[in-house]
């Protein structure tokens, strides 16, 4: 619970930094997704006391809800609850800034108690050819490492923390292992990270109960276009230069050609 409060406080701090939104800015709503990451438990979700997600099942992602910027109470109840008065989790208060994108997770804490983790989704623009990857630890499990194609890319991640990477777009084989090890406790599973998207991967479930799993959420639209379509001469070998200039030009082009080949290899290696 303490960690949850920390996460919430961090989110609140961010909102404070952004400042209060005017009604005009509220046209730009906040987007809130909700992930159910508690095994074997169907729940209802109430927002400000109103039933918002009915019979919400584990491993599903709801939303995004378009909400005006502001403060909201989230409560998670048993599926047969008549109202939000006796929640299993919460109510927790989340602050949503207009224009922001958030995910609230109903999950187990590191010791296996139901809780809620709240995250701000990074929608920063990505360079052409890149994809964003964020991994969030929402499982009843100790610190973990995340491996891409068998190589640790994120280490020592603890519930409820998250870590982000920018990677070359493509498909990776992702797995999760106990920190400092490479023997998977989840996966490996193929994960396609499309260019210009940010994929949020949640490790959820319980190590002790043997039901650890990954949930994913992909947000699109952060791609960057090339800034030019070039068509230039490499070197001027027309005019008076004669054989000498032509020879120098050819040598230069040879270098350019070699560089291009090297660059392509590099790209290919990075992509594989």
């Amino acid at each position: 619970m303490r960690k949850t409060v920390t996460a919430l406080a961090a989110a609140a701090g961010l909102t404070a930094a952004v400042g209060f939104m005017t009604p005009a800015a509220a046209a730009d709503t906040a987007q809130l997704s909700v992930l159910h990451g508690i095994p074997d438990t169907t729940v209802d979700v109430y927002v400000n006391g109103a039933l918002t997600l009915d019979d919400f099942t584990p491993g599903t992602l709801a939303g995004p809800l378009d909400l005006p910027g502001g403060s909201y109470d989230l409560a998670i109840t048993a599926p047969d609850a008549a109202d939000a008065s006796a929640p299993i989790i919460g109510p927790v208060t989340v602050d949503l800034a207009a224009g922001g994108n958030y995910t609230a997770v109903a999950n187990l804490d590191a010791t296996g108690q139901p809780t809620a983790n709240f995250y701000t989704n990074d929608l920063s623009m990505l360079e052409a050819g890149k994809a964003g990857l964020t991994v969030r630890h929402d499982a009843a499990a100790p610190a973990v490492d995340v491996l891409a194609n068998g190589t640790p890319v994120i280490t020592g991640l603890e519930n409820p923390d998250e870590k982000s990477l920018t990677v070359d777009a493509g498909t990776i084989s992702a797995s999760v292992a106990a920190a400092g090890t490479t023997d998977p406790v989840i996966g490996p599973a193929d994960l396609t990270l499309a260019e210009g998207t940010h994929t949020f991967v949640y490790a959820w479930g319980s190590l002790e109960d043997g039901n650890l799993a990954l949930a994913t959420q992909t947000i699109h639209g952060m791609e960057s276009a090339p800034n030019a379509v070039p068509g230039a001469l490499a070197t001027s070998d027309e005019g008076n230069g004669g054989a000498l200039a032509a020879g120098a030009g050819a040598a230069l082009m040879l270098l350019v050609g070699a560089a291009a080949v090297a660059r392509r290899k590099h790209t290919a290696a990075a992509r594989s």
């Binding site: 109103a50 599903t60 396609t192 949640y202 791609e223 379509v229 070039p230 068509g231 050609g257 790209t267």
Partner: protein, 237 residues
Amino acid sequence: MSRTAAGRRLWASAAVLGALAAGTAACGTPAEPAGDSPAAVSAPATAAATQTADPTPPSGPVPASSPAAQIPAPSSIPVRPATPEPAVSIPAPVRVEVEGTGISLEVVPVGVEDNGAMTIPDNHYQAGWYKYGPAPGADAGSSVLAAHVDSRTEQLPIAGLKDVPPGTIVTVTREDGSVQRYATEKVENIAKRSLDGHRLFDRTGEPRLKLVTCGGKWLEAEDDYEDNVVLTAAPVS
């Protein structure tokens, strides 16, 4: 080094030179976007961030005095398994032809250079397909194919791109053998400096084919053409 190895190396160099003379000589390395500030090099967004995991967005916000009145109804909120999105698989283009022009180019997938410019094959008989954008046949957005023009002679068919009349059929053959047909809508000269404003690399609008090369005035100082010639074509059944 043995004589044989040296000979082989010499031969290889000559072959590379020959290839360069045939292919790269006229249209070589992409020039740095001269005059652009570093800020301009980090290309801008082509679209506002959208969350496409949302097939049925909640109905538009209703003006209300309190946020509570704006909590969407449960039935309006999309819920889906939090599983990875399947990789989109559209056969890659392998050839583009513009009917009646002699323009027929092999197509190879390309990305971007370190300077942020689209990669263009160093070969006058190839066009690059911007592989991060939509492929020909995608439901939305512009498939961009680009090729160098031979600035010395302007004799290769691609130099005639600027004169292609509206209605001209453009075909794209894909790696599975299927053919996508397009009809030319327009051919424009777009100043390279204003390329961003034309959404050449649009990913969300109507499906279009964009065939791009260079044109306009040759700018001696920048070692580049002033414009991009952009043929825009719409799919026909």
